[in-house]
Every structure is written in C-alpha cells, then in structure tokens.
C-alpha cells in the first residue's frame, strides 16, 4: 500500500515537473527565417580584399561572403573549428598539418571549392607575389609550404613546430577565394566579391553602405536564417550612437564608449543588449630605450612607479574602455601572473605613497633630483589615447616629470612611431584572435618590426624563441611568466591598463555571442532575428 502511495506521489511529482519544464523546453525558440540585420560600421573599407587590408572595416562586412579554412568556434571560444575543413591531423613531429575539406562546397558563381582554391588563397597570404600586399605575413613565418594533395586534402608543412599555428590559421581575414580569378588578377577581389559564404554581395556604395543578401545555395543546408545584412558606414562615434538610439541600425560591432552605451540603454531599455566583453588589448607607454634618459632602467622604473594603477582604473573606467590591471599578457588568460606575484613588481604595489617615494629616490639617483622635461607623443583619438595621456601627464607631474603632450593625427603618429621619432609613446597592442604569446610578445624581441622602442634584452630574446617552439603548454606558460616578470622588473615598457569592449546589439538577435575581438564572428550564418 505504502509502495503504491509513494509511486503515485513520485508519478505526480514527475508529471508536474514535466508539465512545468515542458513549456520551457518548447520555449527554446525556433530560429525564425527572415529579416535584415543592419549594422553601423565604424570605418570606410578601402577595398574588399581582406587579405590585403589591415582594417576591421573590410573583415567585418566581408566575412559573411566568404568561408575560411578554420575559424574560432562562434559558440565555443576559444575552440578552433573547421569551416571548409572537415577535420585535420597533425604529424607526430608537429611539422605537417593535413586538412580534409568538405565536399560539395560551391562558390556563388556555381563553381566548386576544392583544395586548389585553398592552396591559391593561402599562397597569396603566406607567399604573396610581387605587388600583392600581405600585412600579416609575419605571423606565418613558420609555414614552409602549402600543398593540394587531392581535391579535398590540403597539407601545410612547417619549418619548426609552432603551438601558435592553428590560431594563426584561424585569423578571420583568411578568406578562401576562387583560384581561377586569383590566377587572372590577384587584385580581382579588391572590388568584387565571389565567395562561398552564407551571403552574397548585393551592392556597395563607397562611403555609404555595404549590402549583403542571402545565399540560397549555401553549402551548409538550411542556413543562413537572415535575409541579408547591411553595413552602414558611419565614421563618427556619436552618429553611431544616434543611429542605434533611433533604431536606424540594430547593432554596432566594434565598441562604444561607456557613456554612450549607458545612454542607449537608458533610452531603449530591454530592446537592446549591451555586452561587456573581455577584449585582448592594452594601452601603455612605449619608451624609446635609445634616447636619454630612458636608457637608464631607474628612470623607467620611476615612471612606472609613479602610476597608481588602482586609482587609474577608477578614473578611467567610467570614461574609457580601460578597465583591467594586468602586466604584459591579458590578466584573465592562462599566461598572466597571479595578483600576488604582480603586486611585487614595480608599479603594481598597493602602497602608493611608498611607490612615489621610491620613484623620486630613483630619479635622484639617476641624476634627476628635480625631474626632467619630456615629450609624450600620442594619437589623435580621445578614447582612450588622449584620456590616458591626460591622466599620465598629471600623475608624472608629481615626481617632477613634465611631459608635453604631442598629439598627432594617425598618419603622422604612425610615421613618428616608424621613425622612432618619439621619447614616450602611447602605444596599444593586442590580438584579434586569442592573444597567443607569439603575437603579443614579439614586440619585446630585438630587431622585430613592432619593437618601436628599440629595446634589446638578450635574455628576453632567448626566452621568446624557446616559448615559441614549446609544444607543452605548462612549460610554455612558465617561460612566458619569466618574460613578463623580467619585462616589468626592468620596466621595458610602462604598462597602462587593459581594455574591455562594450558591444551593443538588438535583443532580437539570437544565437550570437560576441568574441573578444571585434574582427571575429561576423559570418552570421546561424544567427537569426526574433520577431520582437
């Protein structure tokens, strides 16, 4: 009898629970077909060939028109997943990567995508012919050759093992173009778009908009759900904010200042989702180690000690995208030092009064008891370049360093940087993929192009080349941490703050999660717009 009662109660409970969750399960929405996603694009694309350009303004709109070999998984960052590649195998010595492609992939003009197209596209990136630009070529130095073995097999051979290879291959700009057009004219895709992607290029009015429409014959059956995506070119930040507020666009896919996001949220409330994303970027000061007095380690240390980063975060996070404190590698990554380790290094200690005293002492020891005058060269963008500089200048005044703020517009600033024509330089760096140490740390290596400050530390050079070939991640992390400690102890670079980014999108957009870099996840092949 009791058993029956228990059974009935159990049954009732299960049924009730079932009835309760069932609607929830069914409420797991079904993708809705249709709708055009309207995006505010922050800059003007120079051409449509992402291989040859170095701006998100090309990769953002054109990602939806093409496929890549491999990509960062849009729903599972930082996993790398195949796009046209179905699977891949790595040889035991890590020198050969064999990719097997999907079959039946068609370009928009009906022709089939084969390994020949993959090879031709990758040759363009890694071994560009004369006259073809490949701005990211430096990331692929380890690739010896790319071969098309048969219709669905592509082989990458390397010079040496490289733990960074897969993430480099997954860079969003590495579109697969049809070989036949590349053969006739490598610049063909600067003005035309023939890809295999979920959308086709419908119309491009320079300075105004890029309009994409659905590819009904997309090889991933059933996709995409959207009818189209339109990118409106709006270069002024306030104008982008206005367009979002008035509903002229649905989303902005780069970043907006915190104040603007706040205003949008106030006006649109739940209709809009403001996502704060851990991007991988940092703004700090590159010191010209070749110029006096910055060749003196004590002077560099003094400059970094004078900055109370915990106060800086309070001041700057409400007005800029600078929010995190970290050293050299992203603070939330596996490469970062722990908070305890960090606080032992100059500039990250909590006792600011002591830091200031130490800074003044170091300056006096180095021969500058009353400080000195210098020039801080900067780029002409308020958030966060100019804002950071205003803060640093006011802070350095306290130790007697009088920094004149030399603000230059982009072309001039990049020339100053290239010519090493600066004493102190506000200089960001970061990653458009996962923040691999190869990408982030090569600026600290002697003679590398991004080593703007011309610093040279043989110990760091050795550490870098070791970690670059170390396939065991735990060992690699150790090497990287060594580098970080040394860079910060010797103050080769004056760390600033790390960025987050605020991405605003309509709440109607489903099945889409932003990634750290605004370059990524712009294919929208399985995203959809809800009715409300």
């Amino acid at each position: 009898m009791r058993r029956l009662t228990v059974g009935v109660i159990l049954l009732t409970v299960v049924t009730l629970v079932g009835l309760w969750t069932a609607p929830l399960a069914m409420a797991q929405e079904q993708p809705r077909r249709g709708g055009v996603l309207r995006v505010a694009l922050a800059a003007d694309p120079p051409s449509l060939d992402a291989h040859q350009e170095q701006t998100f303004a090309v990769t953002q709109p054109m990602s939806a028109v093409y496929n890549n070999l491999v990509v960062l998984d849009p729903h599972n960052y930082p996993k790398i997943v195949g796009d046209v590649a179905k699977s891949w195998k790595v040889s035991g010595d890590h020198l050969t990567y064999t990719f097997t492609l999907h079959e039946g992939i068609k370009f928009h003009d009906g022709s089939e995508l084969t390994s020949a197209d993959v090879k031709a596209s990758w040759d363009k990136v890694v071994f560009p012919s004369a006259g073809v630009i490949s701005p990211r070529r430096g990331n692929y130095q380890m690739i010896k050759s790319v071969e098309a073995l048969d219709r669905v097999t592509v082989v990458f051979r390397l010079h040496h093992p490289s733990p960074a290879l897969m993430t480099s291959l997954a860079h969003p700009a590495n579109f697969i173009f049809p070989k036949k057009h590349l053969d006739t004219d490598p610049h063909y895709f600067k003005t035309r778009a023939v890809g295999s992607g979920p959308f086709k290029l419908k119309n491009y009015v320079r300075g105004s908009y890029v309009e994409l429409e659905r590819n009904p014959d997309y090889w991933k059956k059933g996709l995409p759900y959207l009818d189209g995506v339109t990118y409106f070119i709006i270069t002024d930040t306030s104008a982008r904010t206005t367009a979002l507020r008035s509903g002229r666009v649905d989303t902005e896919l780069r970043f907006l200042p915190p104040v603007d996001v706040h205003t949008i949220k106030q006006q649109l409330g739940d209709k809009v989702v403001a996502a704060k994303i851990q991007s991988i970027g940092t703004f700090g000061v590159t010191v010209n180690a070749g110029k006096k007095p910055f060749d003196d380690e004590r002077v560099r240390k003094a400059l970094t000690l004078a900055i109370d980063r915990y106060d800086a975060v309070k001041t700057l996070s409400s007005i800029t995208n600078l929010e995190l404190i970290g050293g050299v590698m992203h603070p939330e990554s596996q490469w970062a030092l722990s908070q305890a380790e960090l606080e032992k290094l100059p500039g990250f200690g909590r006792d600011h009064a002591a830091n200031l005293r130490e800074a003044k002492r170091l300056l006096a020891e180095a021969g500058y008891p009353n400080g000195f005058k210098t020039v801080l060269t900067n780029r002409n963008i308020k958030m966060p370049y100019v804002d950071l500089a205003v803060y640093l200048i006011s802070v350095w005044k306290k130790i007697g360093v009088d920094a004149e703020h030399r603000v230059e517009e982009t072309a001039t600033w990049s020339q100053s940087r290239l010519n090493r024509d600066f004493e102190l330089l506000i200089d960001p760096y970061g990653s458009t993929t996962v923040g691999d140490p190869d990408e982030m740390l090569d600026k600290f290596v002697t003679g590398q192009p991004e080593n703007w400050g011309r610093m040279s530390d043989p110990v760091l050079d050795d550490l870098f080349s070791l970690q670059s070939k170390e396939m065991n991640e735990a060992k690699r992390i150790q090497l990287v941490k060594e580098m970080i400690k040394r860079i910060l102890t010797k103050a080769w670079r004056i760390e600033g703050l790390w960025t987050t980014r605020l991405e605003v999108r309509t709440a109607r957009l489903r099945n889409y999660e932003p990634m750290p870099s605004h370059w990524n996840n712009r294919r929208f092949e399985d995203a959809w717009l809800a009715a409300k």
């Binding site: 003007d44 120079p46 051409s47 350009e53 170095q54 701006t55 998100f56 004369a130 006259g131 630009i133 490949s134 701005p135 990211r136 070529r137 430096g138 990331n139 610049h187 600067k190 003005t191 009015v205 320079r206 300075g207 105004s208 908009y209 409106f232 070119i233 709006i234 270069t235 002024d236 306030s238 104008a239 206005t242 367009a243 507020r245 008035s246 509903g247 002229r248 666009v249 006006q267 970027g281 780029r379 517009e409 982009t410 072309a411 001039t412 600033w413 990049s414 020339q415 100053s416 940087r417 290239l418 960001p428 760096y429 970061g430 990653s431 458009t432 990408e439 192009p449 991004e450």
Partner: protein, 326 residues
C-alpha cells in the same frame, strides 16, 4: 578692358598650377603617408613590415621622384584623367561623382533658404536703421554667426533623438528618385547650414541696401514723395542686389568647404567629409583634384566680381587707364 580680361583668363592657368604645386608639396612635406595607414598602422595587431611598406609605396607610385609624380598627374589632367584614389584604387572622378549630388543639393538649397530669409530681413533692417527692428535683426544675425556651426547641428540631432527617437535616414536617395526620403535626410543639414548663411547674408544685404539708400538719386525720390515701397523696391533693391548676388555666388563656392563639419555631424556621404578624410589619409590625387576644382571656381568667381565692380564704378578701371601705370 578686353586685353585685361584675356590676361586674367590666361593667368588662371599658372595660378591654378601654382595652387596645385603648393598643395602637392605640402602633402609631401607633411610626415606620414597612406602606405602606413593601408598597413593598418592604426589598428591593433598592425605589423608594419618594412618590406610590405616598400611594396605598397611602389604599387601606389609613391616611390617615384617628386617631379615625376607631379608632372604625370598634371599630364593626366590635360587628358582629363584625374588619377586614382590611393585608398580605394577607383578613379577620383568616380569617387567625386558618388558624393557630388548630395553636397550640391545641400549647398543649393541652403543658399536658397538663406537668400529667401536674408533679403527681406536685411532690407527691413536697413530701412529701419537704428530702430529696434534693426537692433533685433542685427542681434539675431550676429547671434547666428557666433554659435559654432558644428554645435547647432549636434544639438539639433540630440534634440531629435531624445524627444522623438528619430534620426535622419542613413542612405542618400537623389531627389528625383524619392523626394520624401531625400528630404528626410537633408532637411536638417540644409536648415543648419542655411541658417548660418542667412545670418551672414542678412548683414551684407543690410549694408548693401544702406549704401544704395544714401545715393543722391534715392534721396531725390524720397524728397519727391514717392511712396516708400516703390522707392525701396524699384530703385534700391535693384542696385543693392548686385553686390548681394555676387556675394551669394561667391558664398556658393565656399559652401563646399563649409559643409565639412555639417557632413561629419549629420553622417552625410558628401564631398566635404570626403576631402577631410582624403587629407587625413594623405590620398594625394583626391586632395589635388578637389583643391584644383575649388580653386578654379574661386578664382573664376573672383574674376567675375572684379569685372562687375569695374562695370559698376567707372572710377575703378583696368586696361588702358590702369591706375599706377605711368
């Protein structure tokens, strides 16, 4: 006189060349070039590889000696080939053609609006000089001038978006295709620019009318007792309009430059914003072409103005009785 006109027209050529040369030199003296920007020097992750930089510069023809670059561009002009944009690779003329209708429309309508406001207001202020009517008109027009032009645009946009959740359409549609959509986008920029120009033109009209009103023949008409209205309309306006119209004509040319800020603030894909972008990017062929065209208009209009004044005032003359020629 005819020889003078001929001389001036012929002198236009070296003048324009002079402008082109100065611009060219300045753009090359200024540090930084477009190759750096193409290689993403401003973006995170921009790896400015020196060999890639050299490649880009070579592709764009930037490594040729300066005189070669300049003369090949000039030679192109003679054949009506204004070169290609260094940023997009498209012909400069095509880039200009995309943006020209919008800027032209705003310029023309703004001038129209400002003229329609300025002439009646300015005349009124002149007739009632030093009365409260005059004061009000002058205060309003000076007030209109004093407010920074980008400010009014921004305040306007803010007002519209805060209270009406509305902002103008983002894409330009020519007025003959869809007039309503066109007006939706361009109404507020036209009003902003036109309002400002109205302020200027009002004051100019006022002084021009004042001028003419003091002429003896006008005073005679007053004395004779002709109705004020007739006097004003028939005699005063006719003569006063000449300088006003020439001013308006000249303003039209400068309008193009003045639209820079308005187009930025209202997100219009027009020539004003385009030349700013081109200058900041060091897109030299675009800059040179646009400067040349603007210079041509300005110099041409100045010539017309000078001739008109010689016609108007026989005391100033060119040619045989040229002042100063001994």
């Amino acid at each position: 006189m005819r020889r003078y006109i001929l001389k001036r027209v012929l002198l236009m050529v070296p003048t324009l060349l002079g402008v082109a040369l100065v611009v060219f030199l300045l753009m090359h003296v200024v540090p930084g070039d477009i190759a750096l920007l193409i290689l993403g020097a401003g973006e995170q992750g921009g790896d400015v590889n020196l060999s890639e930089l050299a490649k880009v510069r070579h592709n764009l023809g930037l490594d040729r000696p300066l005189y070669v670059q300049f003369f090949s561009w000039v030679w192109g002009i003679v054949r009506l080939d204004f070169g290609n944009s260094l940023w997009t690779g498209a012909p400069v003329i095509e880039e200009l053609r995309i943006r020209f209708p919008l800027t032209l429309e705003v310029a023309v309508f703004a001038t129209l609006v400002s003229t329609l406001i300025a002439i009646p207001l300015g005349t009124l202020a002149a007739i009632r000089q030093d009365t409260w009517v005059d004061y009000i008109v002058r205060v309003i027009s000076i007030g209109g001038l004093a407010i920074p032009n980008f400010w009014t645009g921004i305040l306007l946009i803010l007002f519209l978006v805060i209270y009406f959740q509305w902002s103008p359409p983002l894409v330009f549609v020519p007025i003959w295709e869809d007039p309503w959509e066109n007006i939706k986008q361009l109404f507020w920029p036209i009003v902003t620019v036109g309002y400002r120009n109205a302020a200027v033109s009002t004051r100019l009209t006022r002084s021009a009318v004042l001028e003419v009103m003091r002429e003896d023949y006008i005073r005679t008409a007053w004395a004779k007792g002709l109705r004020e209205f007739l006097v004003v309309v028939k005699h005063t306006l006719k003569n006063a309009m000449l300088p006003v119209i020439t001013i308006i004509g000249a303003e039209l040319a400068f309008l193009m430059g003045g639209l820079v800020v308005t187009e930025t603030v209202f997100t219009l894909n027009g020539l004003g914003r385009f030349i700013v972008d081109a200058i900041l990017r060091r897109d030299i062929p675009v800059v040179q072409t646009m400067v040349l065209m603007t210079a041509f208009i300005i110099i041409f209009v100045n010539l017309i103005v000078d001739l008109l004044y010689a016609w108007l005032d026989p005391r100033i003359s060119y040619g045989a009785h040229r002042a100063g020629q001994r």
